[in-house]
Symmetry: C2
């Protein structure tokens, strides 16, 4: 039987923002035959089905493993440090013909987990990372258009199967994403700088104000700019705990570069070095303005 | 002649975002008889009149000083470190009956400037600071509703005249702002933590990525969250140079508390101290969620 489905069945392990948004995005676009969810709690299963995010939901992969074969995709969307245990379940139950991919924000730790579980990297595994998210989490936050005009980075390795890679690329394109490819190492460095470092800073800034400044009314005087600046500090603590640990080396490198830069700024303020302050602020403004123009162009070229 | 005007004439020195928004906000609400702008460049004068931001505009305060008396307000909206020179012009030309106020983000430096210029703090001076802004600047960015539902902090001192204080309060209320009062010291500490520190961090983060990371494509992989997080790094460099210098002591204190907090986070990541990371991220998320609920309540109670 032929069909216009991009993939056959999608199994989402972990029905939160990332997994739920892919599930409902593919359903909305008629891009897969059926979406099956796997969650740790019956509540989440019931809610995901009731919301129409998935067609069916189960507590265990074992219950549906026998249904899956070539053309089906398992998407691992659990917190980064839970990927290894999930891969053990998969190895035990799922056929090597099924395509595996994931949405973890750190790719080195997924590769290590797969090596630990499979002994070598299986052809069926396509490590991936959708660069999209929200400070919201959970199945209620699932959004079929979350990936529209967003980038997905795949980090295939030498052993990755061509068919599996093609299937995962098509799946992400079907929900409106642009698919890029890079090495595991470059991915983890780039994400440490553009995402993990900003989250570390945002959490630390809010904690400084809440704990260290010693003024219980401090937030009363913060304005809308502060709300935007600290939005990412409302992100899920467990998810970010996992990411910081999993990408420890790259995050520490990025943090050290930032702390050095901030210490130079501190010195510039202390010595009232106008030239340094004006140069640095102007350089940063130019870089940030250029970045937003690039984002705007990307969005208009996608339309 | 009686009228329903809240103030008589408003003179705005510096017709940028802050001054222009007050001017056009009062005009839109019929809250003052006439708005006069003073700018350093003829271009700005012409543009401000053409845009309807002010009724008339001049290059020098001397040209209109003779018109001003009791009931009129001069609003100083120049970069923080230019306030002292502006106060010298005012002292030379403007009657002590005219109310003076300002919008500088640092109040200690305005008080010092006024003491240097007047010898003592004049009764006519009401130091103030509207907690509103944008990464945009200049007269084109003037917005009559900028202050709607925003806070304005006044920092009157012992010598401040009651009538002048009342007039400035009414002026800000007329454009929809909530007026609060606090000491100069508390203002400068609170703003260092909630505004000046976040701007220092945002500039430094963008500069770290642009200069220090060593990947010319780094911004290509940053997503919408990064755009929001760094929005304030597009703010006016001269304005922020002045603020960092003028509030040097409080900014350094806040920076040091933040750097200490960030170093503790760095240690937590390096030692994979899960308890520390989860506690800190959860504490920060809770504080930030509480803050946004408070902002939402404020906005609904204003409606």
């Amino acid at each position: 039987m032929t069909s216009s489905f991009v993939i056959n069945k999608l199994v989402v392990i972990g029905i939160g923002l990332i997994g739920g948004s892919l599930a409902t995005g593919l359903k909305k676009r008629g891009a897969c035959r059926e979406v099956i969810g796997i969650a740790r709690r019956q509540d989440t299963c019931d809610q995901a089905v009731a919301l129409g995010v998935v067609d069916r939901a189960y507590l265990s992969l074992a219950e549906i493993a026998a249904e899956l074969g070539e053309g089906d995709v398992v998407f691992i969307a659990v917190p980064t440090l839970a990927v290894e245990q999930t891969l053990r379940d998969i190895r035990q139950h799922i056929s090597p013909a099924v395509t595996l991919t994931d949405g973890a924000s750190v790719k080195g730790s997924v590769i290590s987990a797969a090596e630990a579980v499979f002994g070598e990297l299986p052809a069926q595994l396509v490590p991936g990372h959708p660069i999209a998210g929200s400070e919201k989490s959970g199945v209620m936050a699932a959004n079929p258009d979350l990936y529209e005009n967003h980038r997905v980075i795949l980090t295939p390795v030498a052993s990755t199967g061509e068919d599996h890679l093609r299937r995962v690329s098509c799946m992400w394109q079907a929900v409106g994403a642009e698919v890029l490819s890079m090495s595991v190492e470059e991915h983890d460095q780039v994400l440490a700088a553009t995402s993990h470092l900003p989250h570390a800073i945002a959490y630390s800034l809010v904690d400084t104000l809440a704990q260290d400044i010693g003024n219980p009314n401090i937030f009363r005087y913060a304005a809308g700019g502060f709300r935007d600046f600290t939005r990412i500090a409302s992100s899920d603590p467990v998810m970010w705990h996992d990411i910081m640990r999993a990408n420890k080396t790259c995050v520490i490198q990025a943090l050290d570069l930032f702390i050095d830069n901030l210490m130079r700024l501190r010195a510039g303020i202390e010595t009232e070095n106008s030239e340094y302050l004006l140069d640095m602020f102007t350089r940063a403004k130019d870089a940030r303005d250029k970045f937003t123009r690039m984002l705007a162009q990307d969005h208009s070229s996608h339309k």
